[in-house]
């Protein structure tokens, strides 16, 4: 079987497991929605500061919900030492990386697809914002690329719930900054050319993070 077939077998296993347990999506979604509701009370949705604070609010919700989701992704592999079972499979470690990455991305993007319209409604924005969708999609790729690597690393530590944000957030800061800036431009009614620089930055980080994470994943898993 091919590289893609085996990576998709890992994705299938993660999705099936999540469909049964509903541990990741449910908890992450509730957390993300709570963040939005709290900020909705803190800031006046109709005020002119919306473009400035709105983007920050959305990405705070995504970032912390994403960290929760990543923590669960490899916690699942630690139960019954399933990670050892994966490592015993006669496949390149990159297959394991891409399979787990696909799972992390799917869960995060699914939660974002639900949170984003709620955010737009709560903060009196138009529901039709395809450019915002593109920003979220690109930033989530980078987020999941680094997150998969660091959640594998943190899973091997005793205090993994604390270690993951400490290790991961400083690395992902460039993507979050670029995503916040691009989202702010979208909410402010800016044009494609206004946000192009930020989109290119996110895209560049995606490519770098994907390549480097896939290369070093083997070493993270084995020792």
């Amino acid at each position: 079987m091919s590289f893609a077939t085996k990576a998709s077998a890992i994705l299938w296993k993660d999705v099936l497991s999540e469909l049964r347990a509903r541990e990741i999506v449910t908890s992450v979604l509730v957390f993300g929605l709570l963040v939005l509701v709290v900020f909705n009370f803190a800031f006046d949705p109709g005020s002119g500061t919306m473009a400035i604070v709105g983007a920050g609010i959305l990405w705070v919700a995504f970032t912390f919900a994403g960290v929760l989701s990543l923590n669960r992704s490899f916690a699942m592999e630690k139960e019954n030492s399933c990670i050892d079972g994966l490592m015993l499979c006669p496949v390149d470690r990159q297959v394991l990386y891409w399979g787990k990455l696909a799972g992390c991305f799917t869960f995060m993007f699914l939660v974002e697809i639900i949170i984003t319209p709620v955010f737009l409604v709560l903060f009196n924005q138009s529901l039709w914002m395809p450019r915002l969708g593109l920003v979220v999609l690109l930033a989530t790729v980078g987020f999941a690329a680094v997150g998969t690597l660091f959640s594998a690393l943190a899973a091997n530590t005793k205090a993994r719930d604390i270690m993951l944000p400490i290790l991961f957030l400083p690395m992902i800061v460039p993507v979050i900054i670029a995503a916040v800036e691009a989202t702010g431009i979208v909410l402010d009614g800016g044009t494609w050319s206004d946000m192009a620089t930020w989109l290119w930055i996110i895209l560049a980080f995606d490519v770098i993070f994907l390549a480097v994470s896939a290369l070093v994943f083997e070493f993270v898993l084995e020792e």
Binding site: K13, L16, S81, P90
Partner: protein
């Protein structure tokens, strides 16, 4: 290190070392296991039994020395080696939210098992769990989960089995059933390495036994040369520093 003649040994270790920082888990293990042979490895806690299994199954890289599985260097051909190995540990490597069939389907795909659905039924029959094929693993008893773990380990029909205390944590009834299954796996031309604390059981299973102590093989002999009545005495003699 050069590649061994594939026809000579199923497993060979030469001065095998594994360290975790300052802690030396394996301090130069020399060991050979012939094809079709079952080697029982004993040793106190911390002797290096689990580390030895982890290095042999390519989960952990050796710090020194060499090891060959079917003539293949564990450093150079890990994926080829993984195809030949079945590993059973006290951890099951099973996903609790999936059923036995789904777990086996997943691992079967990862091992490129042909006619997978038939093979799943076949191995579940072997461990007497066909009737629980659609129950979630988390709802099965510990003994049943361990039987599914054995089914997982043989789904790709490996020629070599590495078993790290496979009977740990089982109640007496589950242990008896597990022994029947392990005996059936052990029969035929499979090479087996099993680590255990149960000296009597190890002697029963093994064609040869080895005692690992402080990361070294301190005793090794064929079963025929061992007086079963003196096995505890023999074990104490070679592991005295820890036992007494």
């Amino acid at each position: 290190m050069e590649q061994e003649n594939p026809s000579s040994w199923a497993i060979r270790c030469e001065g095998l070392k594994k360290s975790f920082g300052e802690q030396h888990a394996l301090r130069g293990v020399d060991l050979t296991v012939a094809r079709g042979e079952c080697l029982a490895v004993f040793g106190p806690n911390g002797a290096g039994k689990t580390t030895l299994i982890k290095v042999l199954c390519t989960m952990s890289r050796p710090s020194g020395g060499g090891a060959w599985i079917d003539g293949l260097d564990i450093r150079k051909a890990p994926n080829e080696i993984r195809r030949k190995l079945g590993v059973v540990s006290h951890a099951t490597f099973l996903y609790g939210n999936l059923t036995p069939a789904e777990n086996l389907r997943f691992y079967g795909k990862m091992y490129d098992v042909p006619n997978l659905e038939n093979r799943i039924e076949e191995v579940l029959d072997q461990v007497h769990l066909r009737s629980r094929i659609h129950d979630r693993v988390s709802t099965l008893s510990r003994g049943m989960q361990q039987r599914v773990a054995i089914a997982r380990s043989i789904i790709h029909n490996p020629s070599i089995m590495l078993m790290d205390e496979p009977e740990t944590g089982l109640d007496p009834h589950a242990t008896i059933m597990m022994r029947d299954i392990l005996d059936s796996i052990n029969s035929g031309d499979r090479t087996v390495v099993v680590t255990t604390h149960d000296l009597g059981r190890g002697l029963e299973l093994g064609d040869r036994m080895a005692i690992l102590h402080k990361g070294r093989v301190v005793f090794e002999a064929p079963k025929a040369e061992i007086d079963a009545g003196r096995i505890h005495e023999l074990y104490d003699e070679h592991t005295r520093a820890v036992v007494r």
